[in-house]
């Protein structure tokens, strides 16, 4: 799934689309996608001037956006809007730098009512860089 199609599955728009490509989706089970981290992004100016590092909060956002595709079914517009409900046990294991491909795999742990808990694992190459558990909230399910 390329950028144009990603916009069908995500309510986010420039400058807050934090995923470049979705590779795999198993509806209500798992998803996999990545962001190509570039020096040509706004955060790189200040985080940090002498050592540009992809900010941890944006790693969480990439995880959440890739995770949102667990609930994506092709051909069923419009995509539901999910909100971030909880962030748990997030670990940033290795720094992520411009030039890296930040690969995220997510799987649905449990759903209850409008709440969905997903497990996220992020890698750069074969190196584990971040892990965590997010809760996504879909008020449209009410």
């Amino acid at each position: 799934m390329e950028s144009i199609e990603i916009e069908k599955g995500l309510p986010h728009r420039h400058p807050f689309i934090m995923v470049d490509r979705i590779l795999e989706v198993e509806y209500m089970k798992r998803s996999k996608g990545y962001k190509n981290v570039s020096i040509n992004e706004q955060w790189a100016v200040g985080h940090f001037p002498d050592e540009p590092l992809y900010p941890g909060v944006l790693m969480i956002e990439t995880m959440a956006q890739v995770g949102g595709f667990i609930f994506y079914k092709a051909g069923i517009p419009p995509a539901s809007k999910f909100y971030l409900g909880a962030v748990k046990n997030i670990k940033f294991i290795h720094p992520v730098k411009p030039g890296d491909t930040f690969m995220v795999e997510t799987e649905l742990i449990e759903s209850l009512h409008i709440y969905h808990q997903i497990k996220c694992t992020a890698t750069v190459g074969d190196k584990l860089v971040a892990t965590g558990v997010l809760t996504l909230v879909n008020p449209n399910q009410l």
Partner: protein, 92 residues
């Protein structure tokens, strides 16, 4: 004997709640009938929020292999109501 089994389930639920939600209390401080998502007139209750309910559902699935359905949110009223549901679903 039956009472021991019931106590055991309730205590397991209390320990799970404290561990899963990182509460700064001991499991023994949670009363079986104290509201989980509210505080009653006598000041008893955990006053949890709705995001915590999902955390409890995950914990129940890990502990007992079952979880209440979205339509059965009343199950989460208190520890006793959760334990009663577990007992009815596992048939013990």
């Amino acid at each position: 004997m039956m009472e021991n089994v019931q106590l055991s389930i309730e205590n397991q639920i209390k320990s799970m709640i404290v561990a899963k939600l990182g509460l700064d209390i001991s499991p023994e401080e949670i009363h079986d009938d104290a509201p989980l998502f509210d505080v009653n007139d006598s000041g008893d209750g955990l006053d949890l929020d709705s995001v915590d309910a999902l955390e409890l559902a995950v914990g129940l699935k890990e502990l007992f292999g079952i979880k209440p359905q979205s339509s059965e949110m009343s199950v989460f009223k208190n520890v006793r109501s959760i334990a009663d549901t577990i007992r009815s679903q596992v048939g013990s």
